[in-house]
Amino acid sequence: MTPSGHETPFRDGLAVSPPLILASVPIGFLYGVAAAGIGVDPLQAVAMSVAMFTGAAQLVVVELVASDALPAIVVLAALVVNLRYLMYSASLAVYFRDVARRWRWLSAYLLLDVNYAITLDRFADVADPDVRRFYLGVSVPLWLTQQAAVVVGIVVGASVPGAWRLDFAVPLVFIGILVPAMKSRANVAAGLTAGTLAVALVVLPLNLGIVVSALVGTVVGALVQESEAT
């Protein structure tokens, strides 16, 4: 028995993955539907999902590509949305310090909000060698089901008529994520600022309005947060 009490860490990881899969599969499916819906080549849609492996950012990319954004803006927006992975990387780095590079890189590639949270939750002892195997046990099924969901979504999206307006599902998912987060004052400040500014700056070329609004909104939210902390 190892320090954390896991006898079969990889299998324990597999065992806890189902609810996490249930939570992330819909986003992958929706991404596939949306990408196919706007006419993205299926191979490219899958390639993007493999290359990025981040639900929310992929939806943002689809939304921006659908509105004719410049490639630079699309990439920038995706990276901005994914900046929170810096935090996850920082927190989990210590667990992977003594691991061979190829496993370090594989583990980094598979990093998501959910496997980050559950790993931190389960392992207090950073020296516990089980962490790596548990993490992989959680992450590999997540990756497989995500890609499968994307493929299914692409097939469905390509066969559903445009009149069903499934493209509206992407903003709805954003609303589903955004609105519950509005229960904190700092988030309200960030969201309201960014939202209204984005509406006003629609006239800016190259979707710059979105990037500028997001940055300003983030700063405003951070300031409100700091003022609350003091």
């Binding site: 993205v40 080549d41 004719d68 609303i175 509005m182």
Partner: protein, 111 residues
Amino acid sequence: MTPTDTQALWLVIGLAGLGTFLIRVSFFELFGQVGEPSARLSRALEMVPAAVLAALVLPRLVYLDGTFALPPGNAEFVAGTVAAVAAWYTESIPITLAVGMGTLWTLLYLA
């Protein structure tokens, strides 16, 4: 770029994928060489999703084909608002989706 601009799309896929990987692997590789990000930076980064999502959603709801349009002409605005209310109370993405799409289809059907 358009959705069918395959060259531009490969560029986006490559750069977004590489960039995201670099973000994820950053501290795994720099461990010990660079200090952890400050608590302040962590808190500030928490604001990013709200700001980005709001910047994407609000214009999408209030603009119809490039022009500013509020109800009754703009069904998506109404559907989005109803969905937002559902999201506030249920905090469930599937329910938000169902309510939003249902409202949109109803409004479009009645129009």
